[in-house]
């Protein structure tokens, strides 16, 4: 199983390669794109991108020296026709540099790249929200070689899709950055914090009513309030536990390490570490964490010894006892409980 991790600067390639990454992914916002389209909308992230072709060339070159590959993200929610044409040009440049794959978030772009793009692998982004075999087969028809599953999917759903279309490769989230809503169905903008930030974390106040028009009973109000309290707790875990880390520097937050045996059994060939905009130290520790888990799994398999080992990596069972940190909670890795 390959580890896929993000970089945002040339200097991050070598440390992550040494930490044990197999594949790197990055984004770029070329200056001519900004000049032409007046935005940084080349991909999903406004920040955490390379800014020049020379940087991209260096990233690919250094990765190759370590025997690693680089994928380029083209994973905005949607593109105009003019933007798609520009992205095809970018794809050719990247392929000429020795880039390995494009991570594509728009079906129109995917089909165009397959038809008139360079000879380069196409990976269907998690933003495409593939959760059934029919969808994965369509992605294959359109030219994808790999499907990156969205975050909110169960292990059995992934296994079913992977079994139905074994010709495709599959990648699943393993660490960091949990979207609250499905990323592929999120049509909001991560506004600057003074304007509210991401909509999922904005300070909305809820007032409930009943659709049948009846007033809320006191017991209902209390139940809704308790549910909202639990939701706030869940949000904290989902949002990387306030970007806290273990004493060893391993990041807390969304995690699927306990599910590696099931992912492997399902035929998932790669696991994705999110957090392109994060600090280098966080990226290194993330790769080290996943590498340790994978190495142990290759020796111990899916035994209880594996689970104990993985939980111990971040300080023992108590550190991940709140199940709200798990990407794949059906593993039963943690028990939900209130923070603190």
């Amino acid at each position: 199983m390959k580890i896929v991790a993000p970089i945002s600067r040339v200097g991050e390639v070598a440390p992550l390669a040494r930490a044990g990454v197999d594949e790197l992914y990055c984004g770029i916002v070329p200056s001519e794109w900004t000049a032409r389209f007046q935005s940084a909308s080349v991909n999903r992230r406004a920040f955490g991108n390379l800014s020049s072709y020379e940087d991209l060339r260096q990233v690919v070159g250094i990765a190759a020296e370590f025997g690693r590959t680089v994928s380029l993200v083209m994973n905005a929610q949607h593109y105009t026709e003019a933007q798609i044409d520009s992205l095809v040009d970018l794809a050719y440049r990247f392929a000429e540099m020795g880039g390995r794959a494009l991570i594509v978030g728009d079906l129109g772009l995917l089909s165009v790249l397959a038809e008139r793009g360079p000879a380069i692998r196409l990976h269907a982004s998690s933003l495409l929200g593939c959760r059934n075999a029919g969808h994965s087969l369509l992605l294959k028809d359109l030219g994808a070689q790999r499907v990156i599953f969205p975050r909110d999917i169960t292990l059995s759903e992934m296994a079913g899709v992977a079994a139905a279309s074994a010709q495709l490769e599959y990648e699943a989230f393993i660490l960091n950055d949990g979207c609250v809503f499905e990323e592929g169905s999120c049509h909001s903008i991560h506004l600057p914090s003074r304007l509210g930030g991401p909509i999922c974390l904005d300070r909305y106040v809820s007032e409930y009513s009943r659709a049948d028009g009846r007033p809320l009973a006191l017991a209902e109000q209390n139940k809704l309030a308790a549910n909202d309290h639990a939701y706030q707790e869940w949000l904290w875990y989902r949002f990387s536990c306030g970007f806290s880390v273990s004493p060893e520097g391993f990041p807390f937050g969304p995690c699927g390490l306990c599910a590696i045996p099931q992912l492997a059994a399902a035929g998932i060939g790669a696991v994705k570490i999110a957090g392109r905009e994060g600090a280098l130290e966080r990226k290194i520790k993330s790769v080290e964490l996943v590498r340790a888990a994978l190495d142990h799994h290759s020796m111990a398999g899916g035994t209880s010894q594996y689970s104990d080992f993985v939980r111990a990596l971040r300080g023992g069972e108590a550190s991940c006892a709140p199940g709200y940190m798990c990407y794949y909670r059906e593993t039963g890795a943690g028990k939900a409980c209130a923070r603190g």
Partner: protein
């Protein structure tokens, strides 16, 4: 003149609305207790032409077989069209949907909000008419945008040739759109498929971890993908307001289940009215029972 469709998630309203012929918009508002004015208001006495039945957002709300039979019978007896609405789906959901498709008369529409559903329809059900739902037609729809400049940063590609070609490949001749904040009539200008537009609410984000659906679950199962909910989204509406940091341009916002919606501003309604008058939009989908519904229900007590 644009066709008028009424969207219904709950089967119980089929009987209430469709037993005495096609209801008028005003009658729909009365039965469904709309607090919002139907759009456009001068169409209050127009009859609806079609019913959209099912959920766009959650496969848990996929109707059962008897409900689909009921919808087919009700639409046929009224002489109006029927569109079965479907949500993003797992393979289990697709299997349930496949069984429902057998119940639809030829010529019925299926509104797909999942590419796998569109592929299923293209491969196995050529007798139904596939429609690309608004979940597939992506555009920036953040109800908090402070100005039109923000919306311009991320223009949508719904009318781009690659997207239209993809739809054509899947046999799709109609798409559904929302009215985005700061909409212009040009947002609906396409040379490809026919365009339906939802009114008066758009959706901004949808998820799979459901806050409402977790209400009656134990802590260890809350907000988890998988556990069966009790369809609390049909009972509770969360009216959301930004008391800190909100701006005057915020659109009225509410959440049902795991989906956040916004209500159109008068300016957005005007842009849609212009697009309808120009013939760019040929169907309006009125939000039936899935709305903010903040008026008390004297009639249903």
């Amino acid at each position: 003149m644009a066709e008028l469709a009424l969207s219904l998630v709950e089967a119980r309203f089929l009987e209430a609305l469709l037993t005495a012929g096609p209801p008028t918009v005003a009658r729909c508002g009365e039965v469904l207790n709309w607090s919002h004015r139907p759009f456009p208001s001068e169409w209050a006495e127009r009859s609806i032409d079609r019913v959209h039945f099912g959920s766009e957002f959650c496969e848990t709300l996929l109707p059962g077989e008897w409900q689909v039979r009921q919808a087919v019978a009700a639409a046929m007896s009224c002489g109006i069209g029927l569109s079965l609405v479907t949500a993003p789906a797992s393979d289990a959901g697709l299997e349930r949907l496949s069984a429902l498709l057998q119940l639809l008369p030829a010529g019925s529409e299926v509104i797909a909000n999942d590419w796998g559903v569109l592929r299923l329809l293209a491969d196995f059900r050529p007798a139904v008419i596939p429609v690309a739902g608004r979940v597939l037609c992506k555009m920036v729809k953040d109800p908090r945008l402070p100005s039109a400049e923000w919306a311009k940063l991320y223009p949508h590609g719904i009318h781009s040739r690659p997207f239209v070609a993809l739809l054509r490949r899947l046999g799709v001749g109609r798409i559904e759109m929302d009215v985005p904040p700061f909409a212009q009539p040009a947002d609906f200008h396409g040379l490809g498929p026919a365009i339906s537009v939802h009114s008066p609410f758009g959706f901004s984000v949808r998820g799979r971890s459901c806050r409402a659906g977790s209400l009656n679950l134990p802590l260890e199962q809350k907000f988890m993908v998988g556990p069966a909910c009790h369809r609390e989204c049909l009972v509770y509406i969360d009216h959301m307001s930004r008391r800190q940091g909100g701006s005057e341009s915020d659109l009225p916002t509410f959440q049902r289940g795991h989906t956040i919606f916004y209500r159109h501003s008068p300016e957005m309604n005007a842009a849609l009215a212009t697009a309808v008058a120009q013939g760019r939009v040929d169907r309006l989908v009125l939000s039936g029972d899935w709305n903010e519904d903040c008026r008390s229900h004297q009639s249903s007590r």
